[in-house]
């Protein structure tokens, strides 16, 4: 459904078109363990983004010649549903999706103890059901939870968030409209406990001074999301615990 573009994205008192402040994240709802077949899964709604992630593995590698003798092979597919954007997207993987699959895999791999599972594969699938800017970041945040849900040993959760520059102002968590006309977009993924940036991309135009500020803004955003991410993971086990308790009491 096409919507009319607003003329100005940042109004008086630095309020953005969706009512957010410059350094405010979109409201996010995260759920863990929602798919029956996957070894691990998670779902996020961040603004209008709706993204599912599933993990299968560690399991035998197919085709077998791809197996590595000293560690697990991590495979990742980032894919957008044809109905996820205004103009129907062909379901065949685009060059953008192939690149994003690669950078997302490289963003998640540093968090996983791949050396624990030689000759196996861990497959990550990210499906964007509805897109509204920042899908690679929301995809990483979700996929990392799916990995944790699959019980794969990890150094930390990976959480991702973009920051950028819109109408001369530095802003956190750009939505599609802001990304399209904005001056710069910088997606960043972080393992907060290790201060490790595992994904960093940028397009647009930023001075080095602005760049430093945008990095810090994105890191702050990641840290806020990290809290939500951990809560979502814990709440699954609270639910499980309560269910067990009920059974025991019966």
């Amino acid at each position: 459904m096409l919507q009319k573009k607003p003329e100005k994205l940042i109004g008086k008192d630095d309020i953005r078109i969706d009512g957010r402040k410059l350094n405010e994240l979109r409201p996010a709802k995260i759920e863990v363990g929602i798919l029956g077949n996957a070894d691990g899964s998670a779902y996020i709604e961040q603004g209008k983004n709706k993204i599912l992630a599933a993990v299968y593995g560690p399991k035998e590698v197919h085709p077998r010649h791809l197996a590595l003798p000293d560690r697990a092979v991590l495979r990742c597919r980032y894919h957008m549903a044809p109905f996820s954007v205004d103009e129907r997207k062909s379901p065949a993987p685009s060059r953008r999706e192939i690149e994003l699959s690669k950078v997302i895999r490289e963003a998640l791999e540093p968090s996983i103890f791949v050396e624990y599972y030689p000759r196996t594969s861990i497959d990550i699938f990210i499906e964007v059901l509805q897109a509204d800017g920042g899908t690679r970041c929301a995809g990483i945040t979700t996929a990392s939870l799916a990995l944790a849900d699959a019980g794969i040993p990890m150094r930390d959760l990976v959480v991702a968030c973009a920051a950028g520059k819109v109408e001369g102002r530095l802003v956190l968590d750009l939505m599609d409209a802001e990304d399209k006309v904005g001056e710069a977009d910088l997606p960043l993924a972080l393992m907060p406990n290790l201060n490790a940036v595992t994904l960093l991309q940028m397009d647009g135009s930023l001075t080095i001074e602005e760049f430093e500020k945008v990095i810090n803004l994105a890191v702050e955003g990641c840290k806020q999301l990290y809290t939500l991410q951990k809560e979502a993971l814990k709440s699954k086990y609270v639910t499980v615990k309560e269910a067990v308790k009920e059974v025991v009491e019966e």
């Binding site: 003798p69 060059r95 690149e99 791999e109 540093p110 290790l194 940036v197 595992t198 397009d203 990095i215």
Partner: protein, 266 residues
């Protein structure tokens, strides 16, 4: 494809030991580039071309210009298309076939540098708004892979664009009429990429193949002629700290200025 894990580990140890005393296997300083040679106009049939040698890495870029339809969101602008081929003759690890994720990533990093710095004045390449524009094809051809394909490809693409000549034309009733003579492609910015490898917490610029094989992670920063960052890409299975990223940006600002002088003369 990387060599067997055991070889990588032995090499990694050696390279890391050297780095901790500020040295590299080939004798360079940590942020030194290998020798760069740029040759332009090497393919007469292409509208523009360049061959770049970065140490033993060799990359060619060719520019072809055709007419086509503009994108619906920018009806008044020409179209830029960047493609990269990891040609099998360039390395035993390259295989024939459709572009894999590595060549797509390479093309998209080069593309982002040229596009985001607004290097080509695309608005001057419109023939009939919404209907007909010039399409600039940048084809990057890797001829010999000895590491840091990104920077070499970026330089080759820029040098080829600067070398590009378009025929002069007039528009008569929506049709192009070719006039005698040539003009150069309108270029207003000169993006240059600088790539770093992280090996054992040390950042080195312009990694060659042996270093790439053992690196933890890779970081490319593309800066325009005003020293502004226009594109960034992190790659590889490791990570960077925020301090390392900011440090890299500062080194990149100096390095891109040096490199730009080699490509953009006068």
């Amino acid at each position: 494809m990387t060599p067997p894990p055991i070889v990588v580990r032995v090499k990694q140890k050696r390279i890391a030991e050297l780095l901790s005393s500020g040295k590299r296997l080939d004798g360079r300083g940590l942020t030194d580039y290998r020798g760069i040679q740029v040759e332009v106009g090497v393919i007469e049939r292409a509208e523009g071309s360049a061959r770049v040698r970065l140490g033993k890495t060799e990359v060619m870029a060719g520019i072809k210009i055709e007419t086509g339809e503009p994108f619906s969101d920018v009806p008044n602008e020409g179209v830029l298309t960047v493609n990269a081929e990891l040609v099998p003759l360039a390395s035993p690890t390259f295989e024939p076939g459709p572009p894999d994720e590595n060549s797509i990533e390479l093309a998209r990093i080069v593309d982002r540098g040229v596009r985001e710095s607004k290097a080509i004045e695309l608005e001057k390449l419109c023939i009939e708004p919404g209907k007909k524009v010039f399409v600039v094809f940048v084809d990057v051809y890797v001829l010999n892979h000895d590491g840091n394909l990104i920077d070499a490809s970026g330089i080759a693409a820029l040098a080829a664009l600067l070398n590009t000549k378009m025929f002069k034309y007039e528009i008569e009733e929506g049709e192009i009429k070719i006039k005698p003579g040539y003009t150069s492609l309108p270029i207003r910015n000169y993006p240059i990429a600088v790539t770093f490898a992280k090996i054992n917490d040390k950042l080195i610029a312009d990694p060659w193949l042996e270093e790439e094989q053992v690196m933890d992670a890779r970081l490319t920063m593309t800066l325009d002629k005003d020293g502004k960052i226009c594109a960034i890409q992190k790659g590889g299975y490791g990570y960077f700290t925020t301090q390392q990223i900011v440090e890299a940006a500062k080194i990149a600002r100096e390095k891109t200025e040096e490199l730009r002088k080699i490509v953009v003369k006068g």
